[in-house]
């Protein structure tokens, strides 16, 4: 069992293998504790979507996507956003191919209904990945725990979906500051849970709940941000 804990520096093939096991189907929760890990994961998703031909639909809550892209620009990481389909939820700055727009809605059922209408129009006929950015902002603005519970029930319904994979990239420090910390519940519902942390200049992925771990006997993956830039650059 010791080798479970030996971190190994990863190759692009490893990452592709890991991501390919994420879809289709299921809900993936990525909890970000690292400083700039979300930005790298986001750019990996865009590249992997292009390589695999699987459509990426980003639900961009309150301008979270343009914040990450501003960071990537400053880091000198070039990403081609033109093929990424984006559904804007609130916010005003557009990145990528914006295919739908909904106003922020305090009632999760109304929100979900509007979102599904937009997804229906945006989605391809085959498998796709639905990446949600800024869930922490939605949760902060959803007043009361009742709304959060309703939201989880709606997320639960996505677990069995066989054509789409839903990925929530959540900023852990922001969520922890909320009066009601929704992470334990989200983790319980999720098919896979991955935590991102900094390890010196490397990015560490802790596979906290993952089919990949069971199959490959690995719980930690180390990524070098500079390496990632080179793979995709």
């Amino acid at each position: 069992m010791m080798k479970l804990y030996r971190p190994v520096l990863t190759t692009p093939e490893d990452v592709e293998d890991l991501f390919s096991r994420l879809w289709p189907g299921g809900v993936v929760l990525i909890e970000n504790r690292s400083t700039l890990g979300a930005e790298f994961i986001l750019s990996s998703f865009v590249h992997l979507s292009r390589n695999s031909g699987k459509v990426l639909i980003i639900e961009d809550i309150f301008d979270t996507l343009p914040l990450y892209t501003a960071h990537l620009d400053l880091m000198g990481v070039g990403v081609d956003w033109s093929e990424v389909r984006v559904i804007k939820v609130g916010g005003s700055r557009e990145v990528g191919n914006v295919v739908g727009r909904i106003r922020f809605e305090n009632n999760p059922y109304v929100y979900q209904k509007k979102l599904e209408e937009q997804l229906e129009r945006a989605k391809p006929s085959g498998p796709y990945v639905h990446l949600v950015l800024g869930l922490e902002r939605l949760l902060a603005l959803q007043e009361g725990t009742h709304n959060a519970y309703s939201l989880f029930n709606l997320i639960r319904q996505k677990v069995g979906d066989e054509i789409s994979t839903t990925v929530y990239l959540v900023e852990e420090p922001v969520v922890e500051g909320l009066r009601f910390n929704p992470l334990p519940m989200l983790e319980d519902v999720a098919t896979s849970v991955v935590e991102l942390t900094d390890e010196d200049e490397l990015l560490r992925m802790n596979l906290r709940k993952s089919v990949f771990t069971l199959l490959h006997n690995r719980t930690r993956i180390l990524l070098s941000a500079r390496e990632i830039m080179r793979w995709y650059g």
Partner: protein, 222 residues
């Protein structure tokens, strides 16, 4: 005063960055201000200070006690609220407890200010905490946060937001986790008797990432 290390760090910040500088109870703001006044003069980069609710006055008054001379002759000031005017005021922003009204005022004023100041310039934000005081709901909090976020990547400026960590954390709606996530560089200053330990927790410029250093006031004159 020996600023060499601090100069190198400030040089490594890229235009368009939003730098968050966190400190705790100490005279760090006084030295921080003095540093940027000197840095701006030495590097010939204009300095614009956001002076929220007379924060600048407070810092200068303390500096006087410390016999620390800070010369604001060449400094531009964008003033929100407060009464005591220092430096060259380029615009006054009427404060309003509704963030939507205030932020509209701020954006209008800052467009006016930006026209007068040659880019790229340094934007030092003092007293940001006071802008968050009247926040009553998460929605109001996010109005302010998104407005700060909209400046990220604006290559006309290198912005430094100096904030007291403890003050922020104790607000009813704590903006700190979001501010840290929005920031392109995060510096934490830990004071000791004659200086501070500076550690860089986050940086888009890999040269700075993970850096730890000391910035010592040592002896100063005038």
């Amino acid at each position: 005063m020996e600023w060499k290390r601090a100069f190198e760090i400030a040089d490594a910040i890229l235009p368009g960055e939003t730098v968050l500088v966190e400190y705790t109870t100490s005279y760090l703001p006084e030295f921080f201000l003095k540093f940027f006044v000197e840095y701006s003069r030495e590097r010939r980069i204009p300095l614009l200070i956001d002076d929220d609710f007379d924060s600048l006055h407070t810092i200068l008054a303390h500096a006087k006690f410390l016999e620390l001379e800070i010369d604001l002759d060449d400094v531009y000031v964008l003033k929100t609220g407060g009464r005591i005017e220092l430096g060259n005021i380029v615009a006054r922003v009427p404060f309003h407890p509704d963030p939507r009204v205030y932020l509209r005022n701020y954006e209008e004023a800052s467009i006016k200010a930006l026209e007068r100041i040659p880019a790229p310039f340094i934007n030092l934000v003092l007293g940001l905490e006071t802008i968050f005081f009247p926040v009553r709901s998460p929605l109001e909090l996010y109005h302010i946060l998104l407005s700060i976020q909209r400046f990220v990547g604006n290559r006309k400026r290198k912005a430094f937001y100096l904030i007291n960590r403890a003050v922020m954390e104790n607000l009813p709606h704590n903006p700190l986790p979001e501010l840290e996530r929005i920031a392109t560089t995060l510096m934490v200053l830990k004071p000791y008797h004659t200086g501070a330990d500076l550690s860089i927790k986050k940086a888009v410029n890999p040269v700075l990432n993970g850096m730890k250093t000391k910035v010592d006031a040592g002896r100063w004159s005038g």
